[in-house]
Amino acid sequence: MLHTMDDTTTADPPVTPVASLRGLRVSMARNGVRSTVIKGVDLDIRRGEILGLVGESGSGKSVLSLALLGLLPRASAPVVSGTLTVSGVDMAAGPEEERRLARGRDLGVVFQDPMTSLNPTMRIGDQVAEAAGSGAEAVRLMRAVGVPQPERRMRAYPHELSGGLRQRVMIAMAIAGGPKLVVADEPTTALDVTVQAQVLRVLRGLTDDLGCSVLMITHDLGVAGQITDRVAVMYAGRIAEVGPTAQVLERPRHPYTLGLLASRLGLTTERGAPLRTLADDAAPDAAPAEGDTGCAYRTRCPLAMPRCADELPPLGEAATAAPTAFPHRSACLLADEARQRLLGDAPAAEAAPEPVTEDVKGERAERAQPIVSTTELRCDFTVRDRRGRKATLAALRGVTLDVAAGESIALVGESGSGKSTLLRVIAGLETSFTGAVERPGRRLTQMVFQDAGASLTPWLTVRELLTERLTGLRLDRRARRGRAAEALRSVGLPEEALDARPAELSGGQRQRVALARATIVPPAVLLCDEPTSALDVSLAASVLNLINTLRRDLGMTVIFVTHDLSVARIVGDRIAVMYLGRLVETGAADEVIADPKHPYTRALISAVPGLGVTLPDIVGEPPSPIDPPGGCAYHPRCAVAREECATTLTGIQLVPIGPRPPRGSGEQRRGVACVHRGELR
């Protein structure tokens, strides 16, 4: 790695970086097996910059952040070599006392889940004051990060705050004492989309107002594109590419970055065609073994050459690049050729299924009849509110929805919108509701959940999980085995996987097994509850492709719940946006995205992160479905609300707008629940 170090020393600006990593290697033991998680990383974090660290799960980005903090879990017996200095303190090998003081003085940290990252039995004020030194300073910090009425919140416990407020409290603790570097590990991943935008604004403000640097770890290139100055892309413990954000995301030079960007969903991703994915998604075990000397990405790289197996590509600049303070480096032997070759050729994707929407449109005429239909569906739960009193949670507050046979509809909403409850009612899993629901019999509906790991019985083999659904079909052993193998093939898994148990499979493979299980007896309706939200981008893309293919091959109706509009746009012919138990807008996916009619849909769309997308100024968080606001539930956050919105009943029913679709086309008219009836500026 010597040449890389030379590169760095000549090209870096003279200012001392806040953090400096040279030849950093970290190995950790898991279940008695030691593996190298960070395999030689050189990186500087400069004063006042936001550096994005992007990568898929297992790339080592979180381990890197814990190493920076000197907080690698003791249980996994970490071994660190190379140098790692944060504002002059050796965080790799320095005395523990020095590292501890550095954490308090120079470092701040924001973790992913603010609920589990705050002490549940300690008042917010005490927790912030512990970092800030005094109660008064704690109040000041909480006000600085936008916690309303901080004096009052001081006495609250974490469970009494909303997710967005909790994360602001975390940030307040992170900036206590004026740190030089704040490490933010996926700080918005657990938050709602509209809240994510707000928290990103706070983080962006840290560097602008306090001049501290931020290391922003994220799996989402869009988030990185939105707030970072520079981006480092990690793959298998090494940096694949690093440079100014705009350059890396607009003119990527590493095949991996190119692949990641291609598989990322945005609001402009082409619909109807299969999504691009990285090769070998389902089999990450194909990655090179410990001690391999070549490029780790070669097993998935469409441009891999024999040389790639022997030579570790240095992190280098393009030969033509002018010397700059912010070099754009890529660890690929092909250097800039990679980009040309990849974008010149047709990109390597999965065996391409034909476009989906065209086929389906032809059948529209036959499916005017709804297969699932709900009328004035209401669903209340009795729960305990944040203060422990009995309260009624109104999960659904009058949902009327028709889903035509063969149609695919995406239910979009944030937490508390009732989207999952609606799905559970349709699945027959939730029975305490009023109103009417018509659906095909239980055997004809199948459900796929977010966490495939938890929804597959751990002690059963894949074969048992699949054939379980064939009982009652009077098939003999061989026929059952055949059906199981066929179902696995249809989801892109080899027959050998039949004898595996869920724990032996990767997350993507488990989600495929869940899909195979749901479709081994083709259901009339496939219900999906965020099946891709826990997966890496490329895996998510391939699961979405799979759902679209299965839908086309089996002629299924799909009802897909998601919080992500770009996912909704890909899977749904139609999108239904939900807010606090009601539908606020429905319509063809393209139209809803291109021309949203409800202010809430507009806010949702503006909150979808992406490179060059300015952070929107969104007000408030989704309120609790316990005691939701009266009238139109969105009015407290709505920029165009009128006085009557607080009380009116006219704004809460979907009203048809726009042109009536031709008779017999099977298409449904757009609907919006707003006093403005879609007549927005």
Partner: protein
């Protein structure tokens, strides 16, 4: 902690006490102890027996008798002992302080041992392993064996500590509380306290070892689990010292299971104390009960059972309330 949480705990406490009284009443009904024969003797005339039955209300319907019984309990009337001819309440008043003092001392020792065991083990202090081993070894023996063993070693062989009773002959026990250590302090007689403590040591520790290990283990595993929690990582990222992290963030979040276990154990200790009392000739409820059972002195047995049961229930309620104080999410 909300008033409604406290109200719910109080209601469940009363409910359990009611159930306990009902169980005792039913036991009394089906136990065929003959209160009349016990008072009048075997040779009483049928008329005298009938008169006595009427006087005692034994021919009334069961529900009336239960209500009478319950009324008696509320006013502190537990009946008259067949054996001592004293009111059971009075007898219990005589013997209970000795048992209470022993159990309180023993429970405090158990808590101290448990905390030392858990904290030294979690903070990886030296000697934690040895301490754990000793505690484990001691707790494998049944309490009576441990008691006899410690009597033989520390009293008979080494002669370090007294082996029976609550006091040496030199002292008189007539303080206000009946808890001799406390009385010694209250009446300005420290020698009395010291003497009482010396007598408490052997039976107290013998009784404490088992519960100490049970509570300590639960506490230790909660502590270890809590140390892995993400908010502990957050606390570390603030640059706090390990000591402060454990005391401020870890201990309180680990108390829950240990408190439940303590509530259970203090109940068990009141049962275990009966055995220890007989080994160390301790003049407490155990000795009283031991004398009452062979002569079928039902009022005495029922009275002691009621007191011990009530203590068990109150201890567990106290553990619940403490849990609510430690974790605001419980007390909702």
């Amino acid at each position: 902690m909300t008033p409604r949480f406290l109200a719910a705990r109080a209601a469940s406490l009363l409910g359990l006490l009611l159930v306990l009284s009902l169980v005792l009443f039913v036991l009394q009904e089906i136990s065929h102890t003959d209160a009349v024969a016990a008072t009048l003797g075997a040779n009483a005339s049928p008329e005298a027996i009938a008169a006595e039955r009427a006087r005692l209300g034994l021919d009334d319907p069961a529900i009336d008798r239960y209500l009478d019984y319950l009324g008696g309990l509320v006013t502190g009337d537990l009946g008259t002992s067949f054996r001592t001819k004293h009111a059971v309440t009075e007898d219990i008043g005589t013997y209970f302080p000795a048992t209470l003092e022993l159990v309180l001392f023993s429970f405090a020792s158990a808590l101290a041992l448990a905390v030392v065991f858990a904290l030294t083990s979690v903070l990886r202090r030296r000697g934690a392993g040895v301490f754990r081993g000793l505690l484990f070894l001691a707790s494998t023996a049944p309490t009576f064996l441990l008691g006899i063993f410690s009597l033989v070693v520390f009293y008979l062989q080494l002669g370090w500590l007294p082996g029976s009773g609550r006091l040496s002959g030199a002292h008189e026990a007539d303080g206000p509380t009946g808890l001799l250590v406390v009385d010694g302090l209250l009446t300005g007689d420290p020698a009395l306290s010291v003497d009482a403590l010396e007598h408490l040591l052997l039976p107290g520790i013998a009784l404490a070892v088992g519960p100490a290990l049970a509570i300590g283990r639960v506490f230790r595993s909660s502590l270890l689990g809590t140390l892995d929690a993400e908010y502990v990582r957050t606390a570390r990222s603030k640059g706090l010292t390990e000591r402060r992290i454990v005391l401020r963030h870890v201990v309180r979040n680990s108390l829950n299971a240990a408190l439940s276990m303590s509530g259970l154990q203090i109940g068990f200790m009141f049962a275990g104390v009966l055995v220890v009392e007989s080994v160390f000739s301790w003049p407490g409820l155990g000795s009283y009960l031991g004398a009452s059972i062979p002569v079928s002195d039902f009022p005495a047995v029922a009275g002691v059972t009621l007191v011990l049961g009530a203590i068990y229930i109150v201890a567990n309620t106290a553990a619940d309330v403490l849990q609510g104080m430690a974790d605001p999410r419980v007390a909702r």
